[in-house]
Point group: C2
Chain length 228, copies 2
Amino acid sequence: MFTDVDGRALADFPRPSVAVDTALMTVIPATHDTLARLGVLLVRRPPQSVGAAAGWALPGTFLHEGETLAEAVRRSLEVKAGVTGREPQQLHVFDDPARDDRGWVLSVAHLDVLSFVDLELLRKPANSRIVALPSRLRLPYDHLAIIDLATERLRREYRAHPDPRRLLHESFTIADLRAVHEAVAGRELQKDTFRRLMIDELESLPAAAEGRRGRPAQLFGRSARHAE
Amino acid sequence: MFTDVDGRALADFPRPSVAVDTALMTVIPATHDTLARLGVLLVRRPPQSVGAAAGWALPGTFLHEGETLAEAVRRSLEVKAGVTGREPQQLHVFDDPARDDRGWVLSVAHLDVLSFVDLELLRKPANSRIVALPSRLRLPYDHLAIIDLATERLRREYRAHPDPRRLLHESFTIADLRAVHEAVAGRELQKDTFRRLMIDELESLPAAAEGRRGRPAQLFGRSARHAE
DNA sequence: ATCAATTAGATCAAAATTGCGCTAATAAGG
DNA sequence: CCTTATTAGCGCAATTTTGATCTAATTGAT
């Protein structure tokens, strides 16, 4: 076992518990009277949670030995919400030594994104819910701050590229794409400007008649040369 | 002591050691035959370091109980290099369970910035050096990746605001400012475009004759309304 | 075949941005 | 006082970007 200059091993020093928390973001589809908007997955806290920890929270877990932060995130999303196959991105480490009543805990906040349809297919409805943003729910710890960071990060990514986090499936129209981008941005985007910004990173697919009047909208896939 | 659903306390679970590593960046001033350029502070590894860990590295330390990551960064900069009074910013957590021979260690990479003059005044020359970037030195762990992340982050901040990390002192000319921005950007900037982008966030100060021929350059301070 | 509905995207004017040449202002040197 | 050196920043043309209007293309309904 390695020792430091004082002759002590790492294990001799107090160490924090390390938790991961994840803002798993999605776009809640438009209804007849609402626009599409950002949402986040929350999970139900265990029944013995008390005080501010009661109710709902972002999915999270403690880091286990031998796993990476991303592996811990995936485990927490699967166990807590039934969601698999994610690629989370780190946001920030919340490190106030007094932030958790249970002891010294660092929390590494993450962002991940999944389409609403896939999320609805995967998640366990008994233990989880999708909440539209901004939300007025009270959440424990730094979870509101995590959601804000995640929103900012996602908005920045979507400013630069067409649907970088694959909220849309394999083929979509420019109107579909713009609706998703408007949901992420939280504001309306000008259709011509939007089209010009995105078109170079899109690949035209054969248009398909939609079974309704009017010229069928061009279908697009992502350009292979701009794979994330 | 709090327990989880399995009845065990946090202390019952293996926990990682958490380290902090910092890219303390500066701008190395121009000489008669070089342009100003980015540099980073390295510290000498302890003599018993072997293999890849020998030689030079970014300053770092293990997180002690009861301190925040920023406090640990400050402690490491002071102890290792004699540098005080910093406000580090988190970059990324390096979490490969096998990344350190000594055991399970997470490293939280940070960025901080200090003017060359102040850094030269503070640092211990015996234990530290400032290395121009890009550097061809071999560094241990993820230190090259940390420097790359720090460089990107700094470039992004400098794109948007005049000298956000206060590399310049209280008053400066537009030429001084542009030289610093060019050092950070790693490329030449067009003087009129640069001036137009920055001028609104600058506050004119009375010009002072410079003791050399020609119209004295306008002096600026940072506009109070755009305080970081 | 004609009409209505819907989309694609060209065209255009306006606005914004860029970079260069140049002059006025202001200093020190002679 | 004149000359040289240096900076500030204006004026301008070129380029880029934006957003609106409008027409052509293409569908389903009649």
